[in-house]
């Protein structure tokens, strides 16, 4: 089917919005991976849990506005992430990497089940208005999409500033780089890992809210968020925040453009397709370092 310039621009913009939401989740995922070097299967479920907290505060029970509800949700999910790290991952610090991975799967299932039991398993929406988009040249942009883009940029810039300019950020980078060396230099690595989980979970909650604003919420949508985050991080290159962002944008764009030419049943598989092709061409990912290759798949 022919693709006009107008449609192409709209597809690119839609892909950018999807990619921006994935980027927030992927950066949080990247931080958690950096701290403990295992595939955190619970990351997507933490994102959805955070989004449901925001939904509960804004639509379900307390009827706060979306902004205060989201701030509360991000803060509470940060606490939840630190709690999970304390009770589930800290005792497994010296266990083989498969142990925390299996634990993460169990946590994902528990979080999904908790949402279903407490809130229900039907689709939930934030009270965002359904409005025809505003015309910017050939592109239609809704206020919700603009808000998503703005919030994504805010989250990403905040993380970049934190990692670049603060003592905590430097400690997080040091632990991610070499935990033993960081410990030897006087950094309390357990405390830094706990903080990393808090920040990673806060970003996950932010991504969950953005995805909920963009489309809808469902208790089991965490799995797809997790795999897209994982694909974005590996594609961008382990150990590089900018890589995770660019990987996410590539996946968002490819999904939206791809469905134009291939059946939609392939949409979620596109992320993996790009990942496989990308790694085939450049095994370290776009911005990855050579020493991260062996850690890419199972966090070994």
């Amino acid at each position: 089917m022919g693709l006009s310039t107008e449609v192409l621009l709209q597809l690119l913009f839609n892909g950018l919005i999807a990619g921006a939401t994935y980027a927030v989740a992927a950066v949080g995922y990247h931080m958690v991976y950096g701290a403990l070097k295992f595939v955190n299967f619970a990351h997507g479920s933490v994102a959805v849990f955070g989004a449901y907290i925001a939904w509960s505060f804004s639509v379900g029970f307390l009827h706060l506005g979306l902004v205060p509800a989201s701030i509360l949700a991000v803060a509470l999910t940060a606490g939840l992430g630190m709690f999970i790290e304390r009770v589930a991952y800290l005792p497994l610090r010296n266990a083989p990497k498969l142990a925390p991975m299996a634990t993460a799967m169990a946590i994902a299932l528990m979080l999904d089940a908790t949402i279903m039991m407490v809130i229900g398993s039907d689709i939930k929406r934030f009270d965002t208005p359904v409005l025809r988009g505003m015309q910017f040249g050939a592109i239609l942009v809704t206020p919700v999409q603009l808000a998503i883009l703005g919030m994504s940029i805010f989250f990403l810039v905040a993380v970049w500033l934190l990692l670049s300019l603060t003592r905590l950020g430097k400690a997080i980078r040091a632990v991610a780089d070499n935990q033993d060396l960081a410990q030897a230099c006087g950094i309390n690595s357990d405390r830094v890992i706990s903080a990393t989980f808090g920040i990673g979970s806060a970003l996950a909650a932010g991504a969950g809210v953005l995805i909920g604003m963009d489309v809808a919420l469902h208790p089991t949508m965490g799995f797809v968020i997790m795999v897209k985050s994982y694909a974005a991080v590996v594609l961008g290159g382990m150990g590089n925040v900018l890589g995770a962002v660019i990987g996410s944008l590539m996946i968002g764009l490819a999904e939206n453009l791809g469905v134009w030419v291939i059946p939609p049943v392939w949409k979620d598989a596109i992320a993996y397709g790009i990942l496989i092709i990308g790694l085939f061409i450049r095994p370290t990912g776009l911005f990855g370092k050579k020493e991260e290759i062996s850690a890419t798949v199972l966090g070994g």
Partner: protein, 372 residues
């Protein structure tokens, strides 16, 4: 009496008293199996089904059950997933030993389980509506909503009535959607409506903007819309955001008040099919009882399952508590049964003959009748 024999005697006496206090064999409830989506994207339908079922069970048991024996529904969650539904079928048939399973929500689940159900001697009451069910399933499967061929024909009638001659059909990419889509495409050709494209929606999708743009780029005057509430509401909201301007005609899913909660303003202007008989005395009586019990208006899905329980009770009473007996009795009873969801006369392949009202969504979430 030694201490040990004293204890033994006491235990035997207590056991005898407990057994004598247990209900007689005749009071053991008639179990009816339920296989439907209680979690997952289809949970909305499952919960609505359950409300209709519980109301009917309460009414029947309060009136003395089936010749004094109460009925009991064993609920199992199939998530509208064909693999889960097969596990549920085996569990209900072999462990709970039910001769009848109700609640089946989709064509896919019906087709995936009907042959095994027949082998096990279990009757299915389904609202699956794909035309292929009648070909691939036996007369143990009763399709109590209708046949999509009739729904597709009705879509084309609406297009003709509104003089809309360029259509795109947007459909769920599953047995339900494909059956309806094919029926619409056939009927549209006969009615002189040009079908510009067939656009599938992947089940459980959360973003359909590319699909919306595909439809928009074709500039159709009519969009025939065959979608479940969860996925369809995402498409409708994004269609509004992206400025897709065409007349939408929705399937029976969209003739239900509760869709407003999912899609809101994006529904305004849509014409939908409504399959019930909402002005009939049977519906009015049911709706009043539903409102009294649940303090809310009934969903259109509840009435089908409310009727399934009444049908099941009559079939067990007439044919006995066996699959073969229930099957034969259901055929006879359906000939004259008129429930809250309308009459249930069956055609040769066990589909209920369908009749539709046309309704239109207006601002504020009200459905108003459209004259044919």
């Amino acid at each position: 009496m030694t201490k040990r024999s004293g204890i033994l005697t006491t235990v035997l006496v207590v056991l005898a008293m407990a057994l004598s206090a247990a209900p007689s064999r005749g009071a053991t409830p008639y179990k009816i199996g339920f296989s439907g989506p209680l979690t997952g994207d289809g949970a909305y339908y499952g919960e609505a089904s359950k409300e209709g079922i519980e109301l009917a069970v309460e009414e029947i048991n309060k009136a003395g059950g089936i010749k004094g024996v109460p009925i009991q529904v064993v609920y199992e969650d199939d998530r509208n997933n064909t693999a889960d539904a097969q596990t549920v079928l085996l569990k209900l048939a072999q462990i709970d030993k039910v001769p009848l399973i109700i609640g089946i929500n989709t064509s896919s689940v019906t087709m995936a389980t009907c042959k095994k159900a027949q082998e096990l001697g279990v009757v299915q009451y389904s609202i699956g509506s794909n035309p292929k069910i009648g070909q691939s399933c036996s007369d143990y499967s009763f399709l109590l909503q209708g046949n999509d061929l009739e729904q597709g024909l009705e879509f084309a009638k609406i297009g003709q009535s509104l003089k809309l001659d360029k259509a795109v059909v947007v459909y769920m990419n599953n047995d339900y959607g494909i059956g309806n889509k094919n029926a619409f495409v056939d009927s549209a050709k006969k009615a002189g409506i040009q079908v510009l494209a067939e656009v599938p929606l992947q089940p459980e999708g959360k973003d359909y903007r590319t699909e919306v743009l595909r439809v928009k780029s074709l500039n159709p005057s009519l969009v025939a819309f065959v979608a479940y509430g969860a996925e369809g509401s995402v498409f409708l909201r994004q269609a509004k955001e992206l400025g897709l301007q065409a007349a939408f005609v929705g399937d029976t899913n969209w003739g239900d008040d509760s869709m407003w909660k999912l899609a809101g303003d994006a529904l305004v202007g849509m014409i939908a099919l409504q399959a019930g008989a909402h002005t009939s005395p049977a519906y009015q009586k049911y709706a009043a009882a539903f409102r009294a019990k649940y303090k809310k208006d009934p969903s259109i899905w509840s009435e089908y399952f409310y009727d399934e329980i009444y049908l099941a009770a009559k079939a067990i009473e007439m044919g006995g508590y066996t699959g073969a007996g229930i099957k034969e009795a259901t055929k006879k009873i359906c000939a004259s049964f008129v429930g809250a969801s309308g009459p249930k006369q069956l055609d040769a392949r066990n589909y209920v003959r369908w009749s539709f009202d046309w309704v239109k969504w207006t601002a504020g979430g009200k459905l108003v009748p459209v004259s044919k």
